[in-house]
Symmetry: C2
Subunit: 365 residues, 2 copies
């Protein structure tokens, strides 16, 4: 039984990717409750809920899909009670974003073959929401009118070595009333650079950060898969009529784990030539690390970020201290530290060594 | 109704003092659950229970009294289920050890006027239990036969400035089969000394640590109160027949708060001349501070004490780390720190500044 009618009218959809297990934010983030489900900014709302509410400014809840791991389905519905249950797409295995996007495209195709959809991360922060909504709306329009693959590229504010970069091919095209104003052709995608290269990228003005935000039509992306990653489609399309039916989950549980583990960046974007980017100054942060959270949040006179309501600091500098609001925390003399106290775990770690945490925790758990 | 018969036979009693609120061990120790009720050594047993079990080697549970603040009665009975409820003596106010010992003496007198009793702290550690039991047995015997006030004096192992000292008056008296072998007359009690004085004390070999462990007969100590602190007795003996009856608590609630707030050391010991001490090498620690706990417990190769079962330390030196056994703790790079994680509070504090903690916490709570 299909619950949505096929239509000849195009419609915009948004797929929010929420399958990550966020191992870098341990112990705040755990496999049982990864980063996207946390109120990591201390604003009283999880990142996924903030993302969802932002998306509602562009499309109704019925056209928002959450793509996540099976084990997080209940958490998704708990955080987003407005979301129809069938809009949670459950991956039975973690096969990276390539198969994930293909599955999403096939589901949306079953509802509306003319749809255009965005793929967005669930756990990033956007400070300039109005600019963001406007850039995304433009991306939808450009993707539909040109049959293009569109990404939002973030105007870099520092030579960060933690992000991939988008190299621009040309000046932005179009005239003032053209939807292509401010849209640039992409020359190439670049992996995370070393410091010197990052500095060159940023000073050249010809590079943007790749924030993992994509917009394309069902038609465009499925054609791109057919050309560049046909095996994924072959596996997923053995019984194409299952998409959008009550049988979909059973079917996906069987075939999805057999798809290649590959990112959509590598499988599609780097191999396509109709890729465009919209330079976007939207106050973006991927909040990928405790350090990025420290950079992002308000600091006290000692350059320390406190998330927690009963924290008493003495001579504690340039640190980030996160705890449950019910917990009294007394700290003296720490400098350049991450302190994260959760119900089941406590982390006290030098900020500069943050990248080690993932390995340490892996060896422990 | 008296539940115990008066008798003409002497009997040994032990009164364990358990009224302290242990503010120095915050956040492990709180007013709701002070140090004596904690398994502060991580051995699966609270300090008061260890103390109680040690005392059972000298007297039966029926002759062990716990003297504590009213609010801890339920906790005492929870930790010592073998203890008759009437053996918990409840102070309605904190008036220091002077009135506390007088009340205890009057209660024991109501059961057995010929009794000899020891007064012992509830929250100290004794490593050499056999030596301890033997020294206490000797103290009971000497106190009864000589009508003396007897203390156990701890052979000092370092010039500690945190303890009071007992100055010896003479060489130890008696022949080999005399109960007074190894018993010394006390010349004076000395307050906590400065470092130089402490060094002189220890090198002279003529001083012991005062560990607050006393033995005396009911008769001896009540006479000493009559001579040296008669006001306390006057207040408590307005209706002496209340002791040992169902009316005792009501009576004590009324009169006890009117007694002078004074230590038994100051009220009695420093003013008496029949005071003796038994030099005791019993592996004693008062565990008065996190630092003393650090000194006392087994350390790893980095001189760090860990209390907790899932603690993972990297480059962490000369520290003490205490946490719940269910909690995963990951720490890197701390040196000379106290880390104590409790359900409601987290402390991360330099060891050298430990004496500040009490004030910091006071200002917070």
């Amino acid at each position: 039984m299909k619950t949505n009618q096929l239509t000849n009218q195009s419609a915009n959809y948004i797929a929010i990717m929420a399958g990550g297990i966020g191992s870098r934010f341990w112990p705040a983030s755990t496999v049982d409750r990864p980063k996207q489900f946390l109120d990591i900014l201390g604003i009283g709302e999880s990142l996924i809920r903030t993302t969802f509410k932002r998306c509602l400014k562009l499309v109704p809840a019925e056209r928002i899909l959450i793509v996540t791991n099976k084990r997080y389905k209940a958490l998704v519905l708990e955080h987003l009670p407005e979301l129809p249950e069938r809009n949670v797409l459950c991956e039975p295995s973690m096969n990276n974003t390539g198969p994930c996007v293909a599955y999403t495209a096939l589901r949306i195709q079953s509802e509306n073959p003319k749809a255009v959809f965005a793929v967005l991360p669930s756990d990033h922060v956007i400070l300039k929401e109005e600019a963001y909504v406007s850039k995304l709306a433009q991306a939808f329009e450009f993707a539909e009118s040109r049959g293009a693959i569109v990404t939002l590229g973030i105007t870099p504010t520092r030579p960060d070595t933690g992000y991939g970069y988008i190299e621009l091919d040309c000046q932005c095209e179009g005239g003032e009333n053209d939807p292509s104003v401010g849209v640039c052709k992409v020359a190439s995608f670049r992996e995370k650079p070393d410091t010197q290269t990052a500095e060159e990228y940023v000073s050249s003005g010809n590079y943007l950060w790749n924030a993992g935000m994509f917009v394309w039509s069902v038609d465009t992306i499925l054609k791109a898969f057919k050309t560049n990653a046909p095996d994924i489609l072959n596996v997923l399309c053995q019984n194409k009529s299952a998409f959008g039916t009550d049988d979909e989950q059973n079917y996906i549980d069987k075939v999805y784990p057999k798809t290649e583990n590959i990112s959509v960046d590598y499988a599609i974007l780097e191999r396509s030539d109709n890729v465009f980017t919209i330079p976007s100054d939207i106050g973006w942060s991927d909040l990928g690390t405790w350090n990025s959270l420290h950079d992002y949040l308000d600091k006290d006179d000692n350059h320390t970020v406190t998330l927690g309501e009963q924290t008493h600091l003495i001579d504690t500098k340039n640190s980030i201290i996160r705890s449950d609001s019910k917990k009294v925390v007394v700290i003296k003399g720490l400098e350049d530290y991450i302190v994260v106290d959760e119900e089941n775990a406590l982390l006290i770690y030098p900020k500069k060594d943050e990248q080690e945490i993932k390995q340490v925790v892996k060896s422990l758990l």
